[in-house]
């Protein structure tokens, strides 16, 4: 019984999400991909919603009114948070790709996430108090 020598075990698409035993970098990758999927979904949602503008004031203004409740604002805060986290982590990936701070990529990630947290708090407070 010769096992198929040259074939790796056929992976599954969702295997990229396997945090067991992973360290900072692995988590950053998972976080990066989840925020990316969320942002892409929101992007197209955002475009469709803005379509109301073409139909005149009623559609758009009623939609904005609908969005005033705290749950919707929280949802938008999640989108903002995802954007900030994904953006800052993207800087880390660009830097490391060009050889900058590869050996300190974990520290860089934590520093960027600290900045992200501050930005999210800033936007959060503004959004909930406006």
């Amino acid at each position: 019984m010769e096992s198929q020598h040259n074939q790796p075990s056929p992976g599954k698409f969702w295997n990229w999400f396997n945090p067991v035993g992973r360290k900072t970098g692995g988590w950053a990758f998972i976080l990066n991909r989840i925020t990316a999927l969320g942002l892409t979904f929101y992007l197209f949602l955002h475009l469709i919603v803005l379509g109301q503008l073409a139909k005149g004031p009623e559609g758009y203004d009623s939609f904005i009114a609908l969005m005033k409740n705290p749950i919707a604002v929280f949802g938008e805060l999640l989108v903002v948070a995802a954007g900030i986290i994904h953006g800052l982590n993207g800087i880390r990936i660009a830097l490391t790709t060009f050889g900058v701070s590869i050996s300190t990529q974990k520290q860089l990630f934590y520093a960027l996430m600290a900045i992200a947290l501050i930005a999210i708090l800033f936007f959060g407070i503004r959004m909930f108090t406006a």
């Binding site: 992976g11 990229w16 991909r33 475009l47 503008l53 073409a54 004031p57 758009y60 953006g87």
Partner: protein, 125 residues
């Protein structure tokens, strides 16, 4: 030499250097554009574009229209290229990959055209 060399020796039309460079450049650009977008649209502009009138007034300035379209093109290309590299993890066969390329291309161009149309219609109101 072995089956291995057939299926990975022909570098499939994949995400070559250019796609990656576009992704990383648009990514870098987006970090600035996103912050500008968030701050300008919702905090600087009076009323935070929360009413139809604000939006129309905001879009009268042609520069704003141009900026928003550039932002849209950047974010759509970045996200679709990146979505494509995620789909590559499904290890699509070459013909499936072609379909993916086409679909993403059409969706991307469609979104930008739709955005331009929307921006112009608002600007003309």
């Amino acid at each position: 030499m072995s089956t291995i060399i057939q299926n990975i020796s022909k570098p499939r039309a994949g995400e070559s250097t250019w796609l990656w460079l576009i992704k990383i450049l648009t990514g870098g650009l987006l970090v600035i554009l996103l912050l500008v977008h968030l701050i300008v649209n919702h905090f600087v502009v009076e009323g935070g574009l929360m009413t139809y009138a604000n939006v129309v007034a905001y879009f009268q300035n042609p520069w704003i229209v141009f900026m928003e379209i550039c932002f849209l093109a950047t974010v759509v290309s970045h996200s679709l290229i990146a979505l494509r590299s995620i789909l590559l993890d499904m290890n699509p066969a070459p013909n499936v990959l072609n379909i993916i390329n086409w679909v993403l291309g059409v969706v991307g161009v469609g979104a930008v055209v739709y955005g331009v149309w929307l921006a112009l219609t608002i600007a003309s109101k």
